[in-house]
Symmetry: C2
């Protein structure tokens, strides 16, 4: 079973090592982790003329299409929400109708993170409403999609701030959940 | 032609009025704007038992499926990137293979906005790389998807910070671009 590994992990100082670590955890449970860093088999020749970022985008979309499920690192990234590229990929997979899982190394809910970010109570400094659904991990489209897809959103409540780009307990819990649903062969 | 109006406009102080304004611009060009605030025709009865945020998420997904194109307000929202819900919906529409347009009321590129946000140069305070593709408006998945879908990402370079949740010139430019491609009847 192929699982796309979405996340801002590609921005870590040694992204290749991180991808190998995530893939190793997948392999322990009979799953094949697919990283955004992986080359694409049979990449269309015409993509070679695209600017690099647009070629990467096409490649990542093709990787997602090739996968049976997705696991997204939704740890807050430069603001209260998850990384934009990761959220895009989650939406893409959701439209394909396949299971999407998420993990996050914070137990602070989205509404509280947003209030902390803006310093406001019910609106931010520009007068825009802060959604107040206390149980949500992020924007309602994210939590809603994961639930509707049959996936799970797992947060690591024990992770302290300094380890939020290190700890993989919640990721491993997602991998185990997918492996259990797909049976002993991971198929 | 039905066009889904994605954006954090739903968080503005008077979201109903904003939606009416966006729809009026669509109507001037023969398009039917569909807002996340709209009720859904024939909403499945079983959704009534869902928690409210998850019901909203399902409804928005159904609205997107019902549309021929999407226009996303990608104006930066509580951080360097666009609103997470909007980005999710863009990814969802991209996977459906239909045209996606974006507009943003800033001319500052994503790399510069991110450096401004983090105060860093090539990495942020936690050591994570800042992507440096100077021509991008946001994460490469966003720019890449819009381009690949045949849409356009239009930024309002004249908009000053105080008007970024007010001005609709770039939105109107997206509407005109869709109307021109779909012909005089907007079909």
């Amino acid at each position: 079973m192929r699982v796309y590994l979405a996340g801002p992990d590609v921005f870590l100082p040694d992204p290749g090592r991180r991808a190998a670590r995530l893939k190793a955890i997948c392999a322990q449970h009979g799953l094949l982790g697919v990283s955004p860093l992986d080359p694409l088999d049979n990449e269309p020749a015409e993509w070679s003329t695209l600017p690099e970022p647009l070629r990467i985008a096409r490649r990542n979309e093709a990787h997602i299409v090739s996968c049976d499920a997705l696991i997204a690192n939704l740890t807050p990234f430069r603001g209260p929400s998850a990384d934009a590229g990761t959220v895009f990929e989650l939406g893409f997979m959701r439209a394909l109708g396949r299971p999407a899982y998420g993990w996050t190394n914070t137990a602070v809910c989205f509404a509280a993170r947003t209030r902390r970010f803006t310093g406001g109570i019910a609106t931010d400094a520009e007068g825009l409403l802060i959604e107040d659904f206390p149980a949500l991990h992020d924007n309602l489209m994210i939590d809603g999609a994961i639930t509707a897809s049959g996936g799970r959103l797992i947060s690591d409540g024990d992770c302290n701030e300094a380890l939020r780009w290190v700890r993989l307990d919640a990721f491993a819990a997602c991998v185990r959940a997918i492996a259990e649903r797909s049976g002993p062969q991971g198929t």
